[in-house]
């Protein structure tokens, strides 16, 4: 009788080890997946820019400074390594785009161009998606870190060598308002 209880207990303990191992694996995968989602959305955003530039050039050729700012920001985004840098580059692109869209207000033909409107809509929707995938990334990290910090997760975390992950931050400098120059 005692032996069966001990065997049952042993199986139970082994199961708990499995469950926690899997939980760490699943939550870790979720973080990786949401990270790749951010990258997908950022890439999509970068891919939209050349079209936008062509359209703007067709109507407002002499706004070279603003156009160049967007092209440069796109280059920075494409060349950025690591998620922190990419998100930062995306913020730069966002402010450059704001300038372009503000300038477009002064060109009625450009403002009414369907292609331009479509790109504007698409760019703002990808920006939303970037924000949402970042939110999900941080949410996933929160769940993961909660598991790492609370008992008995904290015990299994050290056993399996799992460390807390870093949140994706927006620094104060990036949050500051965008100046629109004319």
């Amino acid at each position: 009788m005692i032996i069966w209880i001990l065997i049952g207990l042993a199986i139970f303990i082994v199961l708990i080890f499995f469950v926690y191992f899997n939980r760490f694996a699943i939550l870790g995968n979720r973080i990786d997946n949401s990270l790749s989602q951010i990258n997908v959305q950022l890439k999509r955003r970068a891919d939209l820019i050349p079209n936008l530039i062509e359209t703007v050039k067709g109507f407002a050729k002499h706004e070279t400074a603003a156009i160049k700012a967007v092209t440069d920001a796109r280059k920075a985004l494409v060349g950025a390594k690591g998620i922190e840098e990419k998100v930062k580059a995306d913020k730069g692109l966002e402010s450059a785009l704001k300038t372009i869209f503000a300038i477009a207000e002064g060109y009625p033909d450009l403002k009414a161009n369907t292609n331009f409107l479509e790109l504007q809509r698409e760019l703002s929707s990808t920006e939303d998606k970037v924000a949402y995938s970042r939110q999900h990334y941080n949410d996933s990290i929160l769940t993961y870190n909660d598991l790492c910090k609370t008992f008995p997760g904290v015990f299994f975390a050290s056993l399996y060598g799992k460390k807390q992950r870093e949140y994706l931050q927006i620094t104060e400098a990036e949050k500051k308002n965008v100046k629109v120059k004319f």
């Binding site: 949401s34 989602q37 809509r121 929707s125 939303d128 949402y132 999900h136 949410d139």
Partner: protein, 292 residues
């Protein structure tokens, strides 16, 4: 809802309730078969019972796997075209990114009201449907909040339980109605035993819609608060949901005509004013959101 809601509890509760519901529906249908068989010749008893069991099982399986299609068809919704409804698709895509859920299929239903509903058996087989009125009258962020609320129903597995209730129990009401009507034409029986069972049949047929009504009232009221909370969890922007609810308060004065009452609890807000309160009052939902 002052109490904190744990979404995981909500999910398992919904799954258990769905199973319980299916068992109940099965029992009720077999019981109906039993009553019917007693009202007929005794020689047919086993045949009718076997038919009743097979019918009940297939009924439950068919409605479980097709509940979303039945709900969609019952309100006359059409699949939303991606090119035509870009914003609708964009918003839902954004929300699926925020919640890490699969993309639901999107539908449009012809109605001037501002309303929406979600259906399906799990997040992988979910549908979201909005009215044309909602797409026209709501601003981008407000529409997003409404969609987030529906996605909240999807992620909490409310859709499974609520659609099953609407489809299965709604059908029980219809079946009992048919039973009641058939009794009108049959005339009085010539057997004392029969009369008692016919009486039971009538009582059940009268009770069925009342049961439907009570169940519907019990289900969705709490769920709406949870779904509102989920919506805020996804969008982090309660103001938009408050604005949407306020718009509905002033805008949805005309009751919905095309919608069956059985599917009313699925909706974002009750399509029938004052008739069978399946949702918490809008003022209450707004005040809860304002405290977030």
């Amino acid at each position: 809802m002052e109490k904190r809601v744990d979404f995981r509890d909500q999910i398992s509760r919904n799954k258990n309730k769905s199973i319980f519901l299916m068992i109940c529906v099965f029992a009720v249908l077999v019981l109906f078969g039993y009553v019917i068989s007693l009202a007929f010749e005794p020689g047919y008893f086993f045949m009718i019972m076997i038919i009743a069991i097979i019918f009940s099982l297939s009924y439950i399986l068919v409605s479980f796997y097709n509940s979303d299609k039945i709900a969609i068809a019952s309100v006359g919704a059409k699949k939303a075209n991606r090119n035509e409804y870009k914003q609708y698709y964009d918003l839902v895509e954004g929300l699926t990114l925020a919640s890490g859920m699969p993309m639901p299929r999107l539908y449009i239903m012809p109605s001037k009201q501002i309303n929406a509903f979600a259906s399906g058996r799990d997040p992988q087989h979910a549908v979201i449907c909005v009215t044309e009125g909602a797409l026209e009258k709501l601003e981008k962020r407000e529409l997003e909040a409404v969609l987030a609320h529906e996605l909240g129903h999807v992620s909490n597995y409310d859709i499974r339980y609520m659609t099953l209730i609407a489809v299965m129990v709604g059908m029980v009401a219809i079946v009992s109605q048919i039973f009641l009507r058939s009794l009108w034409f049959r005339g009085g029986g010539n057997n004392r035993g029969k009369e008692i069972f016919i009486l039971i049949g009538i009582v059940m047929a009268i009770l069925a819609p009342i049961v439907v009504y009570l169940i519907q009232m019990a289900v969705s009221r709490k769920r709406e608060f949870v779904a509102d909370a989920s919506a805020v969890k996804f969008t982090r922007y309660p103001d938009a949901l408050i604005r949407a609810l306020k718009k509905i308060q002033t805008d949805n004065s005309l009751p919905e005509k095309r919608v069956s009452k059985a599917v009313a609890p699925l909706f974002f807000t009750n399509p029938f004013k004052g008739l069978g309160r399946t949702h918490p009052p809008l003022e209450k939902r707004i005040s809860v959101l304002e405290r977030m």
